[in-house]
């Protein structure tokens, strides 16, 4: 009798192979075997969910205990309009809020700044002062929901606005739950919404982590993000490695401040992309947990298990969506969302099919949310913890992800750490190289994107697009000017003066920012006050 494995090998080799020139490696270029067997992962101990190193998940009960949070990222136009969308999403069964801010808000400038022209309310909601934030959450009890805020350079200001709105609703900061993205390193690396240079930027991040550890203990102080790194063109392994390296840089910075690891580590959270290469993504999520647990326990000496557990949010890959035949994006998003669920995500945003064309319409936003509900309640994916654990293939790919990440950690360390590597353009170049390689693969049809470089149709895209009324811009400009007129000027200018002094010293800036926010200082005014002390960062442009 033939040895079964040897027999398979011979049979495989004598079988006809497809000859279409399509890559058989992962979308990131990891070569794959046609078959994985027990031999690919010899002598591995059996792992269990809820146990170190958490490859199989951080909860022993997986989604049997609690489903992931369905958290759709949303925001556009004015605070009033976005408030209506939030109420619509909550009424449709969404379980958490996630705020998208417009470009001026993300860049820390007011709507009446000259460079805000044409940008107001387009890719998120315009927030200039506490007054807008009050409108944004009007009628939404902040003690009953959790809110994620995607903001980075001005993150501390927006968090203070949230705390101040809660105060007005009579909810103490200690009861607030949510997440602040607050991840400045990946801005330098990928998304490029930086304002201050790296050092003062890191100080603000550490200030907010330190402040929240005492005052807002249930808040996830940072969402260390691979999403933007991936969307900028990185491979899965680069996303994994650069994100975790950023995480360690924040840990180092907090330790340097004198904080104790177990006082802040449990509130660190992560945010990954769910791209279209199904198994590679699942492996990435599993590897992320394992690597983080090991570093936190063994390198940083964290004592509490909570510090070892990597919790993460996932968003399906915006970059995988196509403007061509956009309905196909529903299918893409479903595949990506399933990868996130099988990878054990804590919360999930599913993209709407029309996001490649503009802001999602109500209908497209609802289909995206329904896709998650379908996964949770129809697909059966939530019934078994880590259903792919023990798969020869997924386990081998998880190990490979880990190996590649560890190689990158060594490279980054050799460059002197994350910030020197940013200044040397290391990450930026790695990402641009990967993006270019992928684009070439598409051009050469070594990879196909359905509806784009194959299976195309020659028809216009009859899809409804949500438009922002141009009137909105002047109205928002008017609103911020009104706020500046109405407020207690003395209190406001005192608050800004104190902030400037504190910024020049070493105090934690959060209480100063909070006071400025309460005094209705605008976001732009608070940022400009800090710019006076910290300066502005300019990236060396490289192609």
């Amino acid at each position: 009798m033939r040895d079964p494995k040897q027999a398979w090998k011979e049979d495989f080799e004598s079988s006809p192979a497809r000859d279409d020139g399509i890559e058989t490696s992962t979308i990131s270029g990891i070569p794959l075997q046609p078959l994985y067997t027990a031999a690919d992962r010899p002598q591995q101990l059996e792992e269990f969910p809820g146990q170190y190193p958490y490859t199989r998940g951080i909860h022993p009960s997986g989604y049997r205990g609690r489903l992931w949070t369905m958290r759709q990222f949303s925001g556009f136009a004015t605070a009033e309009e976005t408030n209506r969308r939030y109420k619509y999403l909550l009424a449709n069964g969404q379980t958490g809020l996630s705020v998208a801010f417009d470009m001026p808000t993300l860049m820390g400038q007011d709507s009446d700044a000259p460079t805000s022209r044409g940008e107001i309310g387009h890719c998120g909601v315009a927030i200039d002062s506490l007054a807008d934030m009050e409108t944004l959450f009007e009628g939404i009890p902040l003690g009953d929901i959790t809110t994620s805020m995607t903001i980075n350079s001005p993150a501390a200001i927006l968090l203070c606005m949230y705390i101040a709105v809660a105060e007005k609703q009579g909810i103490p900061a200690s009861q607030l739950g949510g997440t602040l993205q607050n991840d400045i390193l990946k801005e330098f690396i990928a998304q490029k919404e930086f304002i201050f240079p790296p050092e003062p930027s890191m100080r603000l991040v550490v200030d907010s982590i330190e402040y929240c550890a005492k005052e807002v203990p249930q808040w996830n102080t940072i969402s260390i993000s691979g999403y933007h790194i991936r969307e900028a063109g990185s491979t899965a392994a680069q996303e994994l490695a650069f994100t975790l390296a950023d995480g360690m840089a924040y840990v180092d910075a907090c330790l340097e401040r004198g904080m104790r690891i177990d006082d802040f580590a449990p509130r660190l959270s992560f945010f990954f992309d769910a791209h279209i290469d199904f198994f590679e993504e699942i492996a990435k999520f599993r590897a992320a947990r394992r690597i983080w647990a090991r570093w936190m326990r063994d390198r940083y000496g964290a004592q509490q298990e909570r510090s070892w557990k990597l919790r993460f949010h996932t968003q399906t890959a915006g970059v995988s969506l196509t403007a061509q035949q956009p309905e196909l994006n529903i299918a893409r998003t479903a595949i990506e969302a399933l990868a996130a669920v099988l990878g054990g995500t804590q919360s999930l945003h599913t993209n709407a099919m029309d996001e490649v064309l503009g802001l999602p319409t109500d209908k497209a936003a609802r289909i995206a949310l329904r896709t998650q509900q379908l996964l949770a309640y129809e697909s059966g994916a939530a019934n078994t913890v880590d259903p792919l654990g023990g798969s020869y293939f997924v386990e081998a790919l998880t190990d490979e992800m880990e190996r590649q990440a560890e190689r990158y950690f060594k490279q980054i360390e050799a460059l002197g750490g994350v910030i020197p590597a940013i200044e040397a353009n290391f990450f930026q170049k790695e990402i641009a190289d990967s993006a270019f390689r992928y684009q070439q693969e598409l051009e050469q049809k070594r990879r196909l994107v359905v509806g784009v470089n194959e299976f195309t149709v020659d028809e216009a895209t009859p899809i409804e697009i949500l438009r922002i009324d141009p009137k909105l811009e002047s109205e928002q400009v008017e609103r911020v000017r009104e706020v500046r007129k109405r407020r207690d000027q003395a209190r406001c200018s005192n608050a800004l003066t104190s902030l400037r002094k504190a910024a020049a010293g070493t105090d934690n800036l959060m209480p100063y920012i909070l006071e400025a926010v309460r005094a209705y200082a605008t976001e732009g005014e608070i940022m400009n006050t800090m710019v006076e002390v910290f300066g502005i960062y300019t990236e060396r442009a490289v192609v």
Binding site: M103, P104, L106, M107, Q109, T115, S116, R117, G118, E119, H122, C123, E187, Q191, K192, E193, E231, A232, G233, V319, T322, A323, Q324, V356, L357, G358, L359, I431, A432, A435, F436, Q439, L442, E443, V449, V452, N453, A460, T461, I465, I468, T538, E539, R540, A541, V542, V543
Partner: protein, 138 residues
């Protein structure tokens, strides 16, 4: 190419205008144009229309390629064309790329943006358009 037939390569300013920092597309296009033999100067992020035109004049560029992913294209693309008019440099060709709905493409072309490329465009299509637009080089 013999010296007699050598033509000066077309020089292109590639720019991100506005606040948006999403530079994946612009970098990929810049590399592809460079590989296709064009002289490409990438301005980096957060350029105002004035800065872009300044760069184009200083570098004696024939073409400006703009990229926006934030939805501000209807304001900022025409602003670059206007600035060229103001500086009497309308011989400089402007093209753009980004997430731009069909209706906006028609409107932008009317306002003087010669060509627009949307997500999923093969790089070769951009190169082909430039070859056609500048058949004899600069």
């Amino acid at each position: 190419m013999s010296p007699a037939t050598a033509v000066r390569p077309v020089r292109i300013i590639v720019a991100k205008v506005g606040l948006d920092g999403h530079d994946r597309g612009v970098k990929v296009v810049a590399r592809a144009l460079r590989d296709a033999g064009y002289e490409v100067i990438y301005t980096g992020l957060r350029q105002t229309p004035e800065m872009v035109v300044d760069a184009a004049l200083q570098e004696d560029a024939q073409v400006i390629g703009l990229s926006i992913h934030s939805g501000a294209h209807m304001t900022l693309f025409p602003a670059v064309v206007q600035e060229l008019k103001r500086r009497k440099a309308t011989d400089i060709v402007v093209f753009g790329g980004g997430i731009i709905p069909d209706d906006d493409i028609a409107a932008l072309k009317k306002q003087g943006v010669e060509q627009l490329f949307t997500p999923g465009t093969p790089l070769q299509e951009i190169v082909d358009w430039l070859r056609q637009r500048f058949p004899k080089g600069a």
